[in-house]
Amino acid sequence: MKLRAPFRTAVVALIWAWMLLFVFLPNLLVIVASFLVRDDVHFVRPEASLESYARLLDPVYAGVFLDSLGMAVTTTLVCLLIGYPFAYAVSRLPARVKPLLIFLVILPFWTNSLVRTYAMKLLLATNGLTNQALLGLGIVDAPLRMLYTEGAVIAGLVYVLLPFMILPLYAVFEQLREDLLEVSSDLGAERWRTFRYVVLPLTMPGVLAGCLLVLIPAVGMFYVADVLGGARHLLIGNVIKNQFLDARDWPFGAAASILLTLAMALLLYAYYLSARMVRRRSADDALA
């Protein structure tokens, strides 16, 4: 085994160095910073304090936190509702069109997501195209106020994040073998039972992965809130960004970021538990 040692050692050392330097150390620094005091010149003063965490309890910030989580959860559910049937429908199409259709889902990524958010703005503005269409068709008398609302932020988040829901769902639907569905209907299960006891449990991993991939970035996408929500509808990302780039209050920004991380860790733990439960339940079902 001596022969392959140099290659292995080099690779392992490289990746470890990278992860320690660019993942472990920075996160450690953020944790330390959150317990220090703000300093105008050097960003932080080495003085232990819990002040930043105390400030997070302020109703204003607590409100932003809850609103932001609420918007993220709504976004996730909307993406799931749109993406689940979509991924299923694509996966059952002939093999020669599938790659193209999936590619069309990814293609918008190549225009930067900020540009796509801006395109949403063009659609939603008071004198924008949606309102023009609604007025023209006589559905409304006066233009609707859509931009700078919570709904606009959610629409923007859904638009930007939808592919992250579709791709993992498509992956599990692709692995869902047609014969399983046939067996189920062959055994006399009607559509709903087939869905409930065969399709849903088997696609659950994709549902969970998609939800995480949407929910987690959704809380941080400050530019979507900036462009579509104006100053009123903030995400946690806006709070953190303002502290670091505008207010220059590192300890407070760091504390907010740690709170966010903890919230996400809790969600991941819930994911882990539910994934385990799904596995166990499907194992039980298989045995029953």
Binding site: R4, F7, I15, M19, F22, L122
Partner: protein
């Protein structure tokens, strides 16, 4: 049932592409008013051509995405091979860290790297952007390549060793050629993620190296800028061209 399915697919694609279509159409609008069509014009393309800063930012973004994707593919592929093939201490921890990077919100990664770069005195610019982008692309490359590695018959590797290939010969002649499609997919994923990123770029960029998101951010936050429409259209056409070219070469091969 069939038309319902196809109609639904069509509707979702309409949702995905309507905003982009509007963007493209209005890039040819003669009016500054972005909501009213007033005839065909290439004015915004001319403006874009004159906007050196915007073009420079776009070029910078492409350069960054290319180099970040390449570097992360290199490191990520090696890491995936090491994770798949070797036992070493701290392997679970390394897996865990990659998972954390993949799952942590961009903004958390962004501020932690900003703090690191400032404290270490790394000048914010190309280097800081590259390091940051490689870091968030890495886990995705690792996952893509690892999936391919665990998907193919491990006996093929053993066969190569059995026939007298050294570890290095085996990697060069068997393993890498077989996982090459996944490596390319990893590169494409890294390229896409890097080009699409806004959050991390805004934090770790500096005045010496302006990238597209930052430039556009300052332009569109306040108002509507039709040059951005023109730029988005150009970028879209470029990516479509790249796609067609790659299809052409793949088909010829």
């Amino acid at each position: 049932m069939r038309w319902l399915k196809h109609g639904y697919l069509g509707l979702v694609y309409l949702l995905l592409y309507l905003p982009i279509a509007v963007l493209v159409v209005f890039s040819f609008n003669a009016s500054r008013n972005p909501y009213r069509w007033q005839g065909l014009s290439l004015e915004w393309y001319a403006r874009l051509w004159d906007n050196d800063a915007l073009i420079q930012a776009a070029a910078n973004s492409l350069l960054l995405a290319t180099t970040a994707a390449t570097l992360s593919t290199l490191i990520g592929t090696l890491t995936a091979i090491a994770l798949h093939r070797y036992r070493f201490r701290g392997k679970r921890l390394l897996n865990g860290m990659l998972f954390v990077v993949m799952m942590s919100p961009d903004i958390v990664l962004a501020i932690s790297l900003l703090v690191l770069f400032i404290l270490l005195g790394v000048k914010l610019g190309y280097l800081s952007l590259l390091l940051a982008h490689v870091t968030f692309c890495l886990p995705f490359v690792v996952v893509t390549v690892y999936a391919r590695l665990s998907g193919f018959n491990a006996q093929i590797i053993e066969a190569a060793r059995d026939l007298g290939a050294s570890e290095w010969q085996m990697l060069r002649t068997v393993l890498v050629p077989i996982i090459f499609p996944a490596v390319m997919a990893g590169w494409l994923l890294g390229f896409t993620l890097s080009l699409d990123d806004v959050v991390v770029s805004i934090f770790v960029t500096g005045p010496t190296f302006e990238v597209l998101p930052l430039r556009i951010y300052s332009m569109v936050r306040l108002g509507v800028k039709p040059e951005v429409n023109a730029l988005a259209t150009v970028l879209l056409m470029l990516s479509l061209l790249a796609l067609l070219a790659s299809q052409y070469f793949l088909a010829r091969k």
